[in-house]
Symmetry: C2
């Protein structure tokens, strides 16, 4: 039997008889010429025949029938990939006679969001949907590659936890052998604890937020790319790692995922050698000066503020990225390190990407007594945190980290209208399947 090759390999076999397997993506009859498009897990290839008899095995069958397609590889200016198959021979592996809920052969998917999500198990086969998830794999690969090169260790921390990580709100509760437990909102404490073990750690895993938000930017389960490192000077040490990680991710996409980027018309950002940064208070002054809107004293930036700052970073620094540093403590979680110069502010940052927050991070408290004080100030009980805080009892270095939401990164990179479209099978307030 002939070895089966993949669509991407056909151009290396010009003049040869090749065998491929995949799905019948399209079948067109144009003035006596028949075009068969096969899709495999990597791309598509077109076969051409004038002989109706070559199509006989597909008689009565529909698109998405799983087939073997043999043919002679011929270069062709008309074909998308510059190559097509002649003298095709088709064999059916799995017939399909059902009409698809959404046509997959059109260049753009023509269906509303609910239909796309209801039928995601099939719609995700569309080349444009698939490209999004190939890029998701690329982001994870670039993230890990960069951190492994920098001597970070990958960890996997538990997702079932005894108490809410940061506060009692917004966590999912589950029954756990007759008691209650919760789904982790983030691996925050665990990654901090692991700084005591490996100094530099990262994790790629699901996080769960029971937030009652029904917006284009919220889903209730997402993939978090988490980083934490010890022996930092302050949050600027962390920001330097953020820059390297972003550069590594985008280099990975540029090098290995150019077909997907092209298909999705993605505009890959340049990561500057030094990402510009501005202090939170200075950012509010800047907005006042440039736009006449006085947001000084507000505890947080609004989406409009972020857009203005993004425009400024692009105009002033030619950068798609901008660090805003020193967010007010009132808006940051209790484990955030206070700015030693001005306790109103914190040693924290957000990274804006094209005018929208993409990454949050900062320096954390590292002294046990500071945790006790911070919990007291936040009017939180210490008991639920005791087993986690034990790490801080026995010597922890200054440390910090950050988290990237995989789906939001893809949403912003690809200018998707909804974060659900950056998720294979999204979970929101109203959707828990497929």
């Amino acid at each position: 039997m002939k070895t089966t090759i993949r669509t991407l390999e056909v151009s290396a076999h010009l003049g040869e008889r090749v065998r491929l397997t995949g799905w019948l993506q399209q079948l067109r009859r144009l003035g006596g010429v028949n075009f068969i498009v096969l899709r495999d897990g990597w791309g598509t290839i077109q076969a051409v025949t004038e002989h109706e008899a070559d199509l006989a095995p597909l008689s009565g069958l529909g698109l998405e029938t799983v087939i073997v397609l043999e043919g002679t590889a011929v270069s062709s200016a008309q074909a998308n990939s510059g190559v097509e198959l002649h003298q095709p021979k088709i064999e059916v592996i799995t017939p399909n006679t059902e009409t698809l809920p959404v046509p997959l052969y059109k260049n753009k998917i023509q269906a509303g969001l609910p239909t796309l999500l209801d039928h995601a198990v099939v719609v995700n086969r569309h080349p444009m949907r698939r490209a999004v998830f190939k890029l998701a794999a690329g982001v994870m690969a670039g993230f890990r590659r960069t951190l492994l090169e920098k001597q970070f260790t990958e960890i996997q921390t538990p997702k079932i936890v005894a108490s809410a990580t940061e506060s009692g709100a917004n966590v999912f509760e589950l029954g756990y052998f007759g008691r209650s437990a919760y789904l982790a909102q983030s691996p925050q404490f665990y990654k901090q604890i692991m700084v005591g073990v490996f100094e530099r750690v990262f994790e790629v895993g699901p996080v769960f937020r029971a937030e009652h938000h029904d917006t284009i930017r919220h889903i209730n389960e997402y993939v978090s790319l988490d980083v934490e490192l010890g022996f930092i000077e302050n949050h600027f040490t962390v920001m330097a790692v953020v820059r390297e990680v972003l550069a590594g991710i985008f280099a990975e996409l540029e090098t290995r995922y150019s077909a997907e980027l092209t298909l999705l018309q993605a505009n890959l950002p340049q990561v500057p050698a030094k990402i510009p940064h501005i202090h939170f208070a200075a950012a509010q002054e800047l907005i006042y000066e440039r736009h006449g809107v006085d947001v000084r004293g507000e505890p947080d930036l609004s989406p409009q503020d972020e857009r203005w700052l993004g425009e400024w970073a692009l105009a002033e620094h030619g950068s798609d990225f901008l660090f805003v540093t020193g967010y007010p403590m009132v808006k940051r979680p209790f484990y955030t390190y206070v700015d030693p110069q001005n306790p109103t502010y914190s040693n924290s940052f957000d990274l804006l990407f094209r005018g929208t927050e993409l990454i949050t991070g900062g320096q954390r408290l590292h002294l046990y007594e500071d945790y006790l004080a911070a919990l007291a100030a936040a009017q939180l009980p210490t008991a639920p945190f005791e087993t986690y805080l034990e790490a801080f009892k026995y010597g922890m270095p200054p440390h910090g980290g950050f988290a990237i939401g995989l789906e939001r990164l893809l949403m912003q990179l690809l200018a998707l209208p909804n974060v659900r479209l950056a998720t294979l099978f999204p979970r929101d307030m109203n959707r828990v399947s497929p």
Copy 2:
């Protein structure tokens, strides 16, 4: 300021003054000579001084104090790493005055399992505990590397699901915006669905089992290394991938984790070019012939059966690994592909590693009507599965896959007495923290 280097880099700086940061792992005074052992995220290094004054910064402080250690790198036959520091200068970053719940400076940890687990956030700093989790990272890296080279695509599938994947039993239930949802027991259906998108997929992620088992081999949340691929001939195609993945994992450990393997006295297996296999029925015959115990007709293998088969594989084939194929359908989940030659059996396999089951896999059903029939035969309702089964309605190729439990692999490789010791922060019936 001097650049900080890591313990592993000291030998490259002989004769130079170097600066390291880390934890005070040990402090010994022997006949006027003082030994200071620093541990960083990668290893340990010893400093030696006869001057008590050099230790002054540590006065009143305990082990695990976080320090800066400067010294002159000198080669030394006595030191473990062949190198030590002279003329040390110590600076305290984070003092520790608390006595540790378990001493970390001894070569072996001397504490019972409950103590180890209660204080895991600190105990995991011990070099022998740390080595286990470094190897966990190595297994994940080898797994991914092998599959990426074989054109598999990494996916992340949801962990909150609308219904129990395989049966109503053994799932955790959670409150989800006023309704019930469940934690995924495995990414089984999702990885199958994704064969329709990418043909070959893998996932590394948590799975959740509400099993009421309190044994040395059970935890209720673990990391599953999942693989699924399409266009297979039968389960033997899947088994060939299992072999390559195992070879890739152990090659990764051998190449990059030799220090950890040595420390843990791990006996790395050879993965044979072809792993031997035996049919389930033949395995039962073999046990009857060799051991006189008649297990023929039993629907499953007992742990004793598996040990006997492991001994046989080693004696007969010189292999630490043995595939047992064709498990009876009655013991396999409903989506398992029936053996076309004998419907009592299935196109499935277990991989025994040193006489214990390590990996389960097989061919799956791929026709929608076969799923309906299998659900009916298993007396399961179709409604909860409809949205997942949609993928099978529209053309799916023959496919199969397997899953490796990360913690069990480590437990068996390292001959750990309890799977909890292969888990950073284990979850069992009685434990949900730290």
